[in-house]
């Protein structure tokens, strides 16, 4: 029916085709920018958190209650198998691995240097939990048999002047705070492209290292817990904490990596401010279009009131125009966004040109090779709701103005 409110509103919208198209474009590009910025943030920060979790202590870490304040190797947790079993019972947990992390001194006959280390069980871990395993460019990880050995970052090996198969001596403190030493052969060299890792990371096999430190066979530095979705880290940490009790502390990744958490929070805050500004600008454009359109039709509104429209019906008609704008604008936004989003999610933008000599951008010790997009569905839904709401809200004042038209005045003056 041509005279229904929706049909009338639709036709009114296209009286000034160019103006409507410009408004729709502004809504569309507003949605585009909001989605792309959010998607890049969601994917980038999610990847950074996952990477930090894989090369650190997982999304959630079960560790000694005092480790967070005094991170020494004497702060260990016993009963790692039971803790791992308990963690795996949580529906959000996908993998659990025991680890020991800390610092040591590595020396050759001529040189010595400090480094961080991760001692892990090669039978349990691969790149899904320890992503730097993918970066081994020479040799390999120590045999699963648990023979002593060490994997060094490429820059670290270069600084020490050692190659594959050469012996180094590492020194650290054991469970009781005593200095302990072990001579091991370099079984692998890894090159991640991240300066911090290449120049200061060593990998050790868990079992022999436990013996070196005087740990029991079920005693580790931490139980690293990996989740299917890193955003559930706090909830999982709370649940596990309740189950673990006083035996150990359960901390989420952001408590272990406050620098990374702070960086992400700051960037997300900036993105949200920018999105609000974009949406406000879009809302101003829509308001302008609708208000102009109402002001131009004052005489018509007077006539419509004369022939029996109620002020409420006029209000509804203008709101209907606003809803049309919102709906088509959202569709336009989806159409504009689809292609670039697909490209960014599948291909991404190579950041090598912006990066350091190794071709990676490093933030808080986490290296990124490309900018990619991947929006969380609830964020996409929020953007759609916000865009719709702002468009519809922008129509309220013009619609109220239409409802307040004085028919006598408008028909006489116009």
């Amino acid at each position: 029916m041509g005279t229904s409110l929706a049909a009338l509103a639709w036709r009114n919208l296209w009286r000034h085709r160019r103006r409507t198209l410009i408004t729709l474009a502004s809504i569309g590009f507003g949605v585009f920018f909001a989605v792309i910025f959010t998607a890049i943030g969601d994917r980038t920060y999610g990847d950074m958190i996952d990477l930090a979790a894989r090369n650190g202590g997982g999304h959630v870490t079960i560790q000694h209650p005092e480790y967070i304040d005094t991170p020494t190797l004497s702060r260990s947790v016993e009963g790692a198998s039971a803790l791992a079993k308990l963690a795996l019972a949580d529906p959000d947990v996908v993998r659990v691995v025991p680890r020991i992390t800390g610092n040591l001194m590595i020396a050759t006959a001529r040189k010595s240097t400090g480094a961080g280390f991760i001692a892990f069980d090669p039978a349990l871990e691969d790149a899904r939990t320890l992503s730097i395993l993918d970066a081994i460019e020479e040799g390999g990880i120590f045999a699963a048999s648990g023979r002593p050995g060490i994997v060094l970052g490429a820059k670290l090996a270069e600084n020490l002047g050692v190659r594959l198969g050469r012996r180094v001596v590492y020194t650290t403190t054991d469970k009781h705070g005593e200095l302990v030493q072990e001579a091991v052969r370099v079984t692998g060299i890894l090159r991640t492209g991240t300066e911090g890792l290449d120049a200061g990371m060593a990998l050790l096999p868990l079992a022999p290292f436990q013996t070196t430190l005087g740990y029991g066979p079920d005693e580790v530095g931490q139980v690293a817990v990996f989740l299917g979705d890193q955003r559930r880290a706090h909830r999982v940490a709370e649940r596990l904490s309740a189950r673990v009790g006083d035996r150990a502390a359960v901390v989420s990744w952001d408590e272990r990596s406050p620098e990374l958490a702070g960086f992400i929070a700051m960037k997300q805050g900036g993105t949200q401010v920018m999105e609000v500004i974009i949406l406000l600008l879009v809302a101003a454009g829509i308001f302008n279009t609708l208000f102009m359109s109402v002001m131009e039709r004052v005489r018509e509104f007077g006539v419509l009131l004369a022939i029996g429209f109620t002020p409420a019906r006029l209000f509804a008609m203008v709101m209907c125009e606003s809803c049309w704008l919102a709906s088509i604008g959202l569709i336009a936004g989806a159409a504009i966004t689809a292609g670039p989003y697909w490209f960014l999610s599948r291909v991404g933008i190579d950041v090598a040109a912006l990066a350091d000599s190794q071709g990676q951008m490093e933030v808080a010790g986490v290296g990124m090779e490309a900018i990619r997009a991947g929006i969380h569905p609830e964020n996409a839904l929020w953007i759609a709701i916000l865009a719709l709401a702002m468009t519809v809200l922008s129509g309220i004042y013009p619609a109220l103005s239409a409802g307040r038209v004085d028919p006598v005045e408008s028909i006489r003056v116009a």
Partner: protein, 230 residues
């Protein structure tokens, strides 16, 4: 073919205040209109013709006095009730046609029936016949900018009478058209008055309208000066 009294105007005044200037557009005006009348209100500019039409049309409220349409006291009605009264019982024809530019001739004529909630099939039957009656058969799908001034005014007349109102208020309906078109429009309205019993009340300066009217009321300075039936 006149019948019952449908409009009663009693001691109506309408005072406008703009800044420090106060204008009395109507000053204690009394008037009765019967159904089926073909009445012209004339008088010099500013005499109160359009003000009277606006008051009878429930578009405006009197400063004092009462106006009844089919027994309903307009001053006591809410804004919504007045909207519904206009929709159901009053038709308007304006000097500048005032059709909805985004609607076709058919849709413009149909809009009041749609507002009333008349079923689509009934609307179609009534509007097609009505447009045929006013000489617009075949032009149903044209928009106002594709019609001549006379044709637009015919659509406006069709819109005004589509809901079979108690009265059609026409404010200078022939002022924007040439003589020939004006005569044709008057022929049409007179025929609708005769054949359908539609009550018309015009405000006009046009001597042709006054010559055709069955009753001519002359207003001067907001009061009825003369009231003549032909």
């Amino acid at each position: 073919m006149t019948g019952t009294t449908i409009v009663e105007v009693r001691d109506v005044t309408r005072r406008y205040t703009q800044g420090r200037v106060t204008v009395d557009a109507l000053r204690g005006l009394d008037l009765d209109l019967q159904s089926g009348e073909f009445t012209a209100i004339c008088g010099p500019s500013g005499s109160g013709k359009t003000t009277l039409l606006n008051l009878i049309g429930a578009l405006d409220r009197p400063t004092s006095g009462t106006i009844r349409l089919e027994g309903h006291e307009l001053g006591e009605m809410s804004r919504r009730e007045r909207s519904h009264l206009r929709r159901d019982r009053i038709g308007f024809v304006f000097q500048a046609y005032n059709l909805m530019p985004v609607l076709t001739a058919y849709e413009n004529a149909e809009i009041v029936l749609a507002l009333q909630g008349v079923p689509a099939a009934e609307r179609k039957a009534r509007v097609v016949k009505l447009l045929d009656d006013v000489g617009l058969a075949g032009l149903e799908d044209r928009r106002p900018d594709e019609l001549s001034g006379g044709q637009q005014q015919r659509v406006a007349i069709a819109r005004a009478i589509a809901s079979e109102p108690a009265i059609v208020l026409a404010d200078e309906p022939t002022a924007n058209v040439d003589s020939e078109t004006a005569e044709t429009l008057l022929d049409l309205m007179q025929r609708l008055n005769r054949e359908r019993g539609v009550t018309f009340l015009f405000s006009t300066h046009d001597p042709r309208v006054m010559a055709r009217a069955g009753r001519v009321i002359r207003i001067v300075d907001g009061r009825v000066e003369t009231d003549e039936r032909h």
